[in-house]
Point group: D2
């Protein structure tokens, strides 16, 4: 059960509610986010919801059978809007496009990418400054200095930044220079990182684990939410299967299922989902039609010279065509 508390509830009243819930054999967790105060009750026994609901200090109470409660659509019918400021939002009913290189490589590359985005009216740029690499000898990103350069150029251009955070100690360091923290597929179940991101007042996009289940992705979001941060997005980026013709298997089903189960925006990453440049477009458009609220993909002026992920990166001409098509497909979807 989720109990939404009135604002600034006295600790006495809160204590009374907790005791009441505990008396029903429900374990309680107090959750305080930037948007509200909640008590989460975990248990199985039947009880009369009015017994609790009528207590003073309670704004609303919801019985949510899902394991992951706060991110469930069952209690929060109104979908979550992510507000990045300056009129940039990510939400159901609009189509967010985020594009940019796999790795941030330097000033010139950033400038060219920004110019490309502005020419196509894209407001959010993706890029990595901390890169998780399976070999310790690979390029691991430009780090915080790269981020600062990027931030300066992006702010001047009115572009928002989404980039991956890999560990707790980076959260604070990056804070002034990011608009969205991205949790990568290898960190989806890095629970300490999730806990700490719950304490931040900036949006977080969580990628599905490399072979994570849909329920695990929701559980990871529940971590961040219950630690205090409601500004969350879920990202389907393909899963690991036996098939070798593509880098991953884009789980189109997951987009439809996540949209039904959760009130959080669902973003699709077709670049990692298929891993083959020539097929990013049809997969991206399929994701839009399956119900995604946004698309994040890799674009670079010269993909074959990109420092990483070149094989799945679009050049600017391909990117421009994709943006146009995404918008047309989204328009049709909304009209159906």
């Amino acid at each position: 059960m989720i109990i939404q508390l009135e604002k600034d509830l006295s600790s006495d009243k809160k204590k009374g509610i907790i005791e009441k819930v505990n008396s029903l054999k429900y374990k309680t967790t107090e959750v305080k986010t930037q948007k509200g105060d909640y008590i989460i009750g975990i248990g199985k026994s039947d009880f009369d919801i009015r017994e609790v609901g009528q207590m003073p200090g309670i704004e609303d109470i919801h019985i949510v059978s899902d394991d992951n409660k706060l991110v469930s659509r069952k209690w929060k019918v109104k979908p979550t809007t992510i507000d990045l400021g300056d009129g940039v939002t990510i939400e159901e009913g609009s189509m967010a496009i985020m594009a940019g290189p796999c790795s941030i490589e330097g000033e010139e590359q950033i400038e060219k990418t920004i110019a490309h985005l502005k020419a196509n009216n894209i407001k959010i740029m993706r890029g990595g400054v901390y890169k998780p690499r399976s070999s310790p000898y690979s390029f691991r990103g430009l780090g915080i200095e790269g981020l600062k350069t990027w931030y300066k150029l992006a702010r001047e251009a009115g572009i928002k930044i989404i980039t991956e955070v890999m560990q707790v100690s980076q959260i604070e360091e990056m804070y002034d220079y990011v608009d969205i923290y991205q949790v990568g597929a290898r960190n989806t179940q890095n629970f300490n990182l999730l806990d700490e991101l719950g304490k931040v007042d900036k949006p977080v996009l969580i990628k599905r684990g490399i072979s994570g289940t849909i329920d695990e992705l929701l559980g990871s979001a529940e971590y961040v939410f219950s630690a205090g941060n409601e500004n969350l997005m879920l990202c389907e980026r393909g899963i690991r299967t036996y098939e070798r013709a593509s880098r991953n298997t884009m789980d189109i089903n997951a987009i439809a299922i996540l949209k039904e189960k959760s009130h959080l925006p669902v973003i699709a990453d077709p670049s990692h989902g298929i891993g083959l440049r020539d097929h990013v477009e049809p997969v991206a458009l399929a994701c839009v039609m399956a119900g995604a609220d946004g698309i994040i993909y890799e674009a670079h002026e010269l993909p074959d010279e990109a420092w990483s992920d070149g094989q799945q990166t679009l050049n600017f001409r391909q990117s421009e065509k994709l943006i146009d098509k995404i918008r047309k497909v989204f328009e049709l979807r909304e009209s159906l």
Copy 2:
């Protein structure tokens, strides 16, 4: 290499060509289909293509590096059209819709389904009379008598029939009553069945194996083609993965990849691909956007009373809406 021979080539000339190819250390296989005569050469050594190409009796010669040669787009740029007669075709550039119940249950059910299809201008009806079931105690289908009833009603209504063939002995028995033989996911690598279907002059739709690779699906089509039957379609129907929130994982990537690799029409089956009635629509529309040439799905007047697969079957109202949306999405796709 694929050598297309002139029609009615003398056996002497053919023998000469084969000897020439063998002398280049290529193993040869003669292929005779309803549409043409071919020699397939399998080998690795380099040679001057003109050496062979200039021999008398050769219409054309193609170097095809793919393992599966006859089904490859590398030699046959013009995509394959399946002609079912009466103006019904399945091909790139149009959108084939095939709908109907999982199992054929009897006359009344067939009539109602046909009425639904005709009301929506759908020309092809799916349904099973031989059902592969993992338990020997489950309903295994109405068999040939069910097919005959179905055929009679369908012919009167101008509706074409696609249905699964499970074993060699059924091919002839079913011949007069089917328009498309379907090879099910459990039989994708039933090579004897594929060989025999190669000798038939009716179209064949091959479903991807339960955990078959894209290359294995192409290999299965190569079996049928090389045994004589070019009237082939490939069908993506979801693969088995660790994810349990859906029945299968619809491999949207496979649609894009199959369209690139092969000249054969690619059909998508969203009903099996996700296995959840409420999500068949978004997955179907995603498949259209990914490039599918057709959609096959399960529809029934009363899905909850269907003898099998009810949980993934649309009712007629849902089916009608889906048909309308498929057509609109396809129209947009073609215009992009």
Copy 3:
């Protein structure tokens, strides 16, 4: 429920029993094998087992909750013994070893293999004369003539034959020349083949599907049993996963689970299970320790010249060492 009937029960009495079971809302299937007569009841309602059990003509009655009833250990505590004649048996408590090439290649190869087996006191030779190949252009086996040659040489040497049957029409053709029919991993759910093998009075070994579940393997065995043939073995041969360092992932868990769930002998195939010659030995020994009743593996005088599967085939020296170790490990296992 499984009802074991008395021998030569009158059809009247049998009819009475069936009516009684149906009246309890259980669907019935009559099963007649070479060893006994059964009625299988499928249903869910509770009833007093004595109501049925006391009826005349019933030898025993068992409530079996498993989906696959006849192959379940829950009713048949005594494990199944496969008797191949001449004192050769496969059963719990002994260790059956079956070895030989992937493909039968000709007289000389057969003779050398037989000599190797006899020198090591191995009684069962494996080998393929019908080969399922993913490409139609690959070698598909020597066929029935190869089998006849093999049979002649094997009989002279007192060696039993296990070989794959790929389709219904081969069953009769092969009948006089095989001791065990093998159902390959691509045919585990070829239900028509399973049905027909149920009518034969020779043992059948069923390989787990390429990505078949344990329950599906038991379901396939239930097909053969319920169609009349109790002489069955199950074979774990590795499953398809995302891991690419080995050909398949040997599911050692499956051996333990199958032994618990079923009364049928469980055979392990380490050659396909890992697919790497150098590691066949440790995997084979692990399978013995996990509880396998037999090991089937590939051996060839000159693996690098084998017509198929050379990379996972042991030479005779390696094979000899493996046999010795299998026996020692089995001896220890039985003593623990």
Copy 4:
């Protein structure tokens, strides 16, 4: 390539070697561990190994084609020994057994477990004080206070401790109270954690990722090694597949392959590998036979009352029998 440097090499000489290697178009990384100094060269061009090998200051040079070089057996034929002090070692040729509960629950539980271990001459106790849980509302472990209590009791009894570290900030906190840091399956690719563990002078056991490949596991070990810590163990604990009859699929192949590829000890975790108490024993014994250097499993006085993982935890009587059998199987393995 791996260049082993002489101890206390002057920075001038080292610089000369690096310049030489760079001139061959190899990228260099300097590695300094507790045991030695190395230069790792990553590149592809051919060169005469003597050109480099004869330079002053070089102890040895090895061409290692594997991606993961320092953990490869190709340069370090002598396998790695982990020395825990007090005569407790983990290494090829002996059998390390580590047992204990999933979660540390309190003093009494620790004492009973220690008594059980001592009675069976087991020197290493496992247990979790930081528990990665997919739901934020689940018990997350007793934390550092639980570890301190455990440490006090274990030291008195002469028992070594292995326990999971989940984040960088815990490394120092835990340092005085652990003998082996365990990296869990959800953190196998938490590269920052791996980097930091490279700076510690205590052994690290790395579990394979939930669906990690064998190469990724070696890559994770390469991270720790190249950051300075050679005291590493690899742990196979089952992978995620489609099979639902067991919690994971124990990859017995991986044990054989890891032993071939790496000089590091390989530990098997049958508890997580199958996840079913009744089958932990056969899987454990199979892992010994496949070549594991140690077994880690879950044991608890009253598994059904354990705070976590009870369904896969042995009681002490089962544990005692398993220990005895592991030793007998290991003894046989070494004698073969």
